[in-house]
Structure formats: C-alpha cells, structure tokens
C-alpha cells in the first residue's frame, strides 16, 4: 500500500513529453503558491517533510489529476487546516 507519489517502476504512464519548457511558471498563481510555500515554511508553520506528507496523502485520483502546483496548493491548504489556521471551506465561493 505504498502511496500514489511512489511511482518508481510503475508501468502505464506512457511516453515522456520531453519538451524543454524553460518558463518556471505557467500562470501567475503558481508563483504565488511558491511564495506562500517559502514564507510559511520559513516561519515554521510547517516543515518540508510535513508538506511532502500532505501531498502524498491526496487521494490517488486527485493527485494524478492535479497539476504540479495544484498539488502544492492542496497540501498548503490541508496543513493550514490541520494546524487550525484555515477553516475548512474558507476558500470556497
């Protein structure tokens, strides 16, 4: 029952899209998420191992469907909820 992130040797992910994309971010919100991660971690709100754990704890279907920085954002929100900083549903419309 390894977690969904543990993909080494898993078959079925297909060919690699080897496109050499040089832009660090594909949307402005991705940069904001990196900024959030760095500032919150630097303040000791969470450590990197907790952050990885939060990403890995996503339900497999959601993990695979999410883009890279969507995973980051999901993990940040999950950690902030766990630590009582964020109310569940606080970001919903």
């Amino acid at each position: 029952m390894a977690r969904i992130n543990d993909v080494g040797g898993t078959q079925g992910f297909g060919a690699i899209d080897t496109t050499d994309d040089t832009e660090p971010f594909h949307a402005d919100w991705e940069a904001r998420v990196v900024g959030l991660y760095n500032t919150l971690r630097a303040q000791g709100i969470f450590n990197t191992n907790e952050f990885r754990d939060a990403i890995e704890s996503m339900p497999p279907g959601e993990y695979l469907a999410a883009s890279y920085y969507e995973r980051w954002f999901t993990a940040i929100c999950a950690l902030l909820e766990r630590k009582g900083v964020l109310e569940p549903g606080a970001l919903d419309d």
Binding site: G9, Y37, A42, G44, N49, E50, R52
Partner: protein, 122 residues
C-alpha cells in the same frame, strides 16, 4: 511550532529566509562503513517514508555516508523530536531490483531503513 531542524529539504524551492543550520548532531558513530552489504526493510509503513517501494527488502552496497539528518518519517508528523540518523548512499544492481537490467540505482537512505545483509552469498 517547533521545527528543530527548520532547514528541511527543498522540493523545488530555495530556503528563502531560512537560517543556515549547523549539521545535526548525531549520538552514535556510523553503523555501516563504505562497502557494507546491506538489506532494506521489507515492511510497508502506514506513514510518510523515503524508502521507495521498488527498493524494499532489497540488497545493496553502501557507497558512503551522506551526513546526518532528522528521520523524515517522524519529522513528517510535525514533531520536533525526530531522531537524527546517518544517511547512506546505497548502490543497487538493476537485476536485484527488477530481476533484469544492467544499470545501477543509488538511493540515499536513513540508517534505520537498513540492516546488515544477514545471508550474504555474493
């Protein structure tokens, strides 16, 4: 919020504003000198760990120690009391991991992920 070793490893971000910590102190000397044949744990822990499943219960050879760090498995629970362990670069042969292949894979593994190979026939 305690984070005794705040400079946790980065996935893709530099340690902005994070202090430059001294290397964690380790109580015990290295258990596995370079060249030691080791075997990784077989079990499937119900929590965060840094031993990928493809390398569980596998034999490898210690390349060298990489330096001590807090055990990620405990640190991932947000605890400040994670034990500090030596990390070893361990080299595996592809055929030991996959049953075939002629390449090698090196993983960096915490000491408690490893035991000395009990029945080394190589």
């Amino acid at each position: 919020m305690t984070d005794a070793h705040p400079a946790a490893p980065d996935m893709a971000a530099p340690d902005l504003a994070a202090p430059d910590p001294a290397a964690p102190e380790m109580a015990a000397p290295d258990r596995f000198p370079p060249g030691t044949r080791v075997r990784t744990y077989r079990h499937d822990p119900p929590h965060h760990t840094r031993l990928p499943r493809y390398a569980r219960g596998k034999r490898g050879v210690v390349v060298e120690p990489e330096g001590p760090e807090e055990l990620a498995d405990i640190s991932a629970r947000g605890r400040g009391d994670a034990p500090v362990e030596q990390i070893y670069a361990v080299r595996f042969e592809a055929r030991d991991l996959w049953g075939e292949g002629d390449h090698h894979v090196v993983l960096d593994l915490w000491e408690s992920y490893l035991e000395e190979d009990p029945d080394d026939e190589r």
